[in-house]
Every structure is written in C-alpha cells, then in structure tokens.
C-alpha cells in the first residue's frame, strides 16, 4: 500500500485528508501517482506549484521511484512562520 496525504488548499479541493492506494505499476513514481490520482480528482489542477514529500522528506525529483509502504504527501507551497 502507498499512503497518500493531502494538506491545506489541496486537502480542501479534494475533500480528502488521506487515502491508501495499492502499490502497482501505475503508481511507480510520484509523477505516475499524481497522474493516477488526477483521473479521480481533477481538482488537483486547481492548486498551483504542488510540492511532494516521500516518507516526510521533501522531494524535488518527481521521477523518484516509490516503494510499497511509502508515505507520500502532496501540498501547496509552504507559508508558515
């Protein structure tokens, strides 16, 4: 399974906090995963400059391979402080 988390505006647009996705070829990378998610959640495109974290580390290379059991988070750019 891949655990997917959404935060802030993305969480509100998708109306979902988290979901579990079976690990398979269609979700082998972050880029694949977001394409896969887009089929059901077209609202993903309402949020600009989405960032991704894998196992709680920010990832800039969206071609990074995912592994079974990974926690992947998608969120808008950070605006704290």
């Amino acid at each position: 399974m891949i655990k997917v988390l959404f935060f802030a505006k993305l969480r509100e647009e998708l109306r979902i906090n988290e979901l579990d996705i079976e690990y398979k070829a269609e979700v082998a990378s972050i880029r694949d995963l977001i394409s896969y998610l887009r089929q059901e959640y077209q609202q993903i495109d309402n949020v600009k400059n989405i960032k991704a974290a894998v196992n709680q580390e920010l990832v800039l290379d969206w071609d990074l391979s995912l592994n079974d059991g990974d926690e992947v988070a998608f969120f808008p750019p950070i605006t704290g402080g």
Binding site: I78, G80, G81
Partner: protein
Amino acid sequence: MVRIQEEGFDIQSEVKKIKPSDESDIGALVTFVGYVRDFKDNKSDTLSSMEIEFYPGMTEKALIEIEEKARRAWDVFDVNIIHRFGKLNLNDEIVLVAVTSAHRTEAFRACEFIIDFLKTDAPFWKKEIGLKSESWVDVNKKDYEKVNKWY
C-alpha cells in the same frame, strides 16, 4: 528545542528556558516573534482570524533539522523554536525563535537563519479568515530570495 502547539506562549518564560538567571556564559540573546497581522494589500476586508495547518511528523523533523543546521554554522548555546497551529486571532503570536550565544553576531545570524528557513522548509500553511472572505496565503517569493542568500 522545538515545539509545535495549539496554545499561546509566554515570551518571557520561553526565554528563561534558554537563559536561566544563573547561566553566566551567555552574552547575547536574540528573539524573533511573528504575529498575526491584518491584511496588508486587501483594504476592503479586515482579518478576523487565521488557521494554521501542519504535517505532524514531518514538520517537527524539518524544524529539528533547521536548528541543527544553525548549530553547525554558528557557535550558539541554545535554541528555542515554537510554532503554533489551529485557530489564531489577530495580534496573536504565531512563532518564536530565540537563540543564545556568547556574542551578538552568532545569535543574530542563527536567529535570522532559522526563521528564514522555517518560512520555506517547515511544512506549515496559513489560511486568512477575513470578515468577508477567507483564503490560503500565497507563497511569498521574497522568502525564497532570503533563503537563497544563505547559500
């Protein structure tokens, strides 16, 4: 030390934690406090509150990493970082960064470094709730320019 909490904090008692009155090697203490302020560009609305969201687990790790980077770069005694989440009101404290060192230069640099990186690397998101409308805060490009000057 790093803390993420819903409740407010007392600046004086948080400062005392890293500058106890019997600690005589500390020559400098620098604190930064960020507050909820009213809209700057939107004159047609007034801010009533703010909601702050974070990523439990990742946000703590990111803050700890920022503190460690600052400690590697400057000779500081102690660091106290607090960031609030949940619903905050106008004029509430959002964030505290306090740093002690023997001399002011290290304390100033480390404090500025920590708040600059906190703005771009620690996953927090702010939503501004006005009397008429609410919206997620847009990313500030200047924050990224500030971080880049540290490299």
